[in-house]
Symmetry: D2
Subunit: 334 residues, 4 copies
């Protein structure tokens, strides 16, 4: 069996290490390059102690990726770094990049309103945004891997996106701290997060335009996401409560049917009716569980969606995208 | 100075111990009786290691309260226990009971739909529901102390309750585990709560009728609370996000003025505009912080209210109620 | 390839679910039976949401194991239950039991001093205690799987057991709460464990005789283990600090050589010199990391040993034992 | 009543805020100055939300302390900062400094081996190391407040220090993360600490010389402290296990008597026999609980000592020292 030759940029962050752990036991993968800006020279086994196959690979400088022939590059660099260094990395045309940052998720106009401008030399169109349960036709090429909040919310909204056009959608969402990466901001140190719950970026989180853009592109739905993110005192997991006010009474059975039809062939999505999932249900898996719930004497529908932000919200989805790109069983490596 | 002679029923639970800790240093209080069903005979200092004044009091059986002359009884018994034992406890007529359970918060009709029926012999009308920032005219008599979720949500809704009549109000609320008391249900053991977030009693939590009843009684507002409680992996604290869909654009300044006017003389309430409070801001205090927030291109108002469930949501509020009953500075003991 | 037909007794506890998760993707295993005393009739996928192969197996009553032909039974029943029910389960002679409880770890005389007496009908000698890094010659037959503390401490002491005969060995050890199983004792509820550290069973923990017995049996070392266990506010992981007072200065290099020689062919053990491992280094793996450290002007050696109590300390080691029993690569399934 | 005019340098760190909270309700204190290097201009109430008396004081620049007439200055600056700036702060001769850092705990020779050298201009002898349960004769003057680990360990060792001369003492000690201050080192961010236990500074922690120096100075005991600190996944609290190997069997009753005699007039110390304290027993108090335990067939004594590192290990002890300095009840403010 031919192996996919894989490199990881930013291998020492949380998403990089998660990729390393999973790719190490992927039957079709050969890890060839691990890039980082620190611990250069150390072996991979020092990052993830139970590697079976590629523990001896040495961490290299990110920029040395230019010397390697790779089939797939997973980029786990901080936002802005891949776009900035794309030229410098001299990535071969036939190499497929799967970028876990926000660098190439949005068209210029939207991107530049919410993030630092991309360098002019860079053409974002060479990347395709792929959330496989929504747009599964993955060919070779570069992929912009979805954001973590965006994944949980888009999976919750897509089955009924066409019916909620023009609506304000309240999304009360909570994430574990690893969603912020290996951040040493004061608000992410132990004493500030522990025994606390706080909101941040209310109404302005950068996954808002990502969600709205994809809903418009895929379903022509013009939706205003009122996003309220919270920092949870846990390491990993996202729970997103999506509240939709309908004009009339919601028929939960018909909603449930829409969801199960929409996801009928999807291995990683599970729909529950009148029962809501917990973060523990999906932690350390690539699954997304979605619960549906209505309220007495009310036209409100609650869609509650949980994922592991480091797996379905980042590294797992990236591997799933690679699997689809190579026409492999999408659950290989999990 | 005459001291208020105080007894606590159920002193070994979390709210009982919190009362003990605070009443021990209250300048106008003499703790006379501590009741429990376990550790009878042990000294109070074994429950709370830094008692200064009443550490030597021995834990007694709850039922022995009948032998004591008390000015105030704080009842921290589990729901149903005080109503069931009221006769047996032979509480003197001149003693004022402050009940922290749900036994006497609601009129019969509502109570019996949501809780186990009260014994026929018991007349709930002899208890008055007092959330002091809303109904401050406390005379001597028995008090039904508000529930923890109810406190945070009523404080968030009261200033505009009259303007939201007939509305469905979404309340996405999260509580630390001490809200469940010293419960040893499997869902409250460490491994199940830790590194998790889960919802429970969605749309059916028993503080829903409490909130709706008080809003109707105080403001004639007929409101449908869509309550979505979560179990947070922390010991103490509640954060309640209240979402209100208005027909027109919300003027945040005018809303802010309504809130600051409403709470202008309240020591324990703080209002923030365009900034939302975190649980840490009020932990270990009797404060309630309320943040107000609107969203771009939307008529939704978010009211975010945080309290410490064991203090403002239970024992602190009970002491505040006692202070008011005796015309003392309401912040004594804090 | 012939598959090993496997059953699990007590599949809904923490060690049972861990086995289920790992055996589901073990290339040589067919899960045939899952026993429990609760949730009977539910599918396995409800216990572990990312099962790929055996998610549809229904949970059965433990006692129905008598109707199944199995090659291997993993017993995750509480202490005492397997011994009590061995007859009733009518386990075939050719079936190999791997018992994760303490029922068959010790000879009668010691067992009955520390645990409830075994039924007279039961012959403990048909079980062999196997900690594979110490006694690797596993044939078919029944296995008593080592305790979690015992695993971490025996791996730390074995390489030098012969040189510490007649000594008092201080073992300051700390375990995550899952070591207590799905316990709903008050001391294991969230609020009691969270933000706390406490000792328990100091000098009397039941892994003390297990460790002493194995050291005597394997190395003729007569050692007094002064065990000081702590309950850590984490879900999984053990860190055992073993302090040995020598008569003379300790040569760390020679100690290090003894350890690396002793474990030279062991895939799951890593030895560090002058550097001590953290629980995170081995969490979710079958690894044991051991750090060696001496102190200035002192003859004390510190051996610090970390494992994941649910994997190397229980379910992982059980699978490793099964692998060895069937002459498979011992790391299959990890 | 004359009030003590107090200033705090470094008021926005964890020990500074703890001081602020407690001094605010101290009957003999008037807070006059709060210094910091950030949030200058904000009111104190933004740091601690339940201040009753001094919430309106504005945070000032540390260096502006030179403009204030103060009776007592609590310095919560990072190690080295007070010594460096002592001249610049132009502190009046009659002002008493209580320094919570390590700047003035040790004589030059030892200090300069373990910490950055003190400026030559500074004379350390003008500071007196005061751990009040050990050396209670506090006069006016400057005080070096003991370190947190040192406090828990010195309180555990002092009663028998004279009998353990020339010994190696093993101290396996564990601290909550606030012991590191408001540190944003990667090892102190949430994801690294949470669900982990790790050792650090083994044998080399800077409280080792502090403990050894005080034991020698006070009791002429020449002791080698083998200190093994751990970082606990909790915010506050220290549990120190001190293991002493005696030549002969330990009489626990006689040891217990030595401890209770030694601490007979101490309000904040509690001694337990055959029972060991947990961190929760003393959290949020100025107490130190010490448990004594022997082991079967062994001459080892375990002394287990717990404190709250931010209170008895820092700010509480500083206030206790101020109280003694002014001949007040030492428990005022708690």
């Amino acid at each position: 069996m031919m192996k996919i030759k894989v490199g990881i940029l930013g291998a020492t962050g949380y998403t990089g290490m998660e990729l390393l752990k999973k790719l190490d036991s992927h039957p079709n993968v050969k890890i060839v390059f691990l890039g980082a800006h620190n611990v250069v020279g150390k072996s991979a086994i020092n990052l993830v102690s139970n590697l079976k196959n590629f523990g001896n690979i040495k961490i290299n400088k990110n920029e040395n990726i230019k010397n390697y022939n790779l089939d797939v590059i997973f980029s786990c660099l901080p936002h802005g770094e891949l776009a900035k260094n794309l030229k410098k990395f001299k990535i071969k045309k036939e190499t497929n990049i799967i970028d876990l940052s926000a660098d190439f998720r949005l068209p210029d106009k939207i991107h530049n309103n919410w993030y630092k401008k991309r360098p002019k030399s860079v053409d974002a169109k060479i990347f395709k945004y792929v959330l496989p349960e929504i747009n599964r036709d993955v060919n070779k090429g570069n992929i912009a891997n979805p954001g973590c909040y965006a994944t949980s919310i888009l999976l919750g909204l897509s089955p009924i996106a066409k019916e909620i056009n023009k609506k304000d959608i309240i999304v009360d969402t909570k994430s574990g701290v690893s969603g912020a990466g290996k951040s040493n901001k004061i608000e992410h140190i132990y004493n500030e997060v522990n025994e606390n719950l706080s909101t941040y970026a209310v109404g302005t989180h950068r996954h808002k335009p990502e969600i709205e853009y994809i809903l418009k592109k895929n379903y022509k739905s013009d939706i205003n996401i009122l996003i309220v993110p919270h920092l949870l005192p846990i390491t990993r997991g996202i729970l997103s409560n999506i509240y939709i006010q309908f004009e009339n009474k919601v028929n939960i059975d018909s909603i449930y049917k829409k969801f199960t039809d929409f996801y009928q062939n999807q291995k990683f999505v599970k729909i529950c009716k009148d029962e809501l999932p917990a973060i523990k249900d999906v932690q350390f898996t690539n699954n997304c569980h979605i619960g549906l719930k209505t309220f007495k004497n009310s036209n409100v529908l609650l869609i509650s969606s949980v994922i592991d932000n480091l797996i379905k919200g980042a590294s797992g989805q990236a591997i799933q995208n690679m699997n689809l790109m190579y026409s492999l069983d999408e659950s290989l490596g999990f």
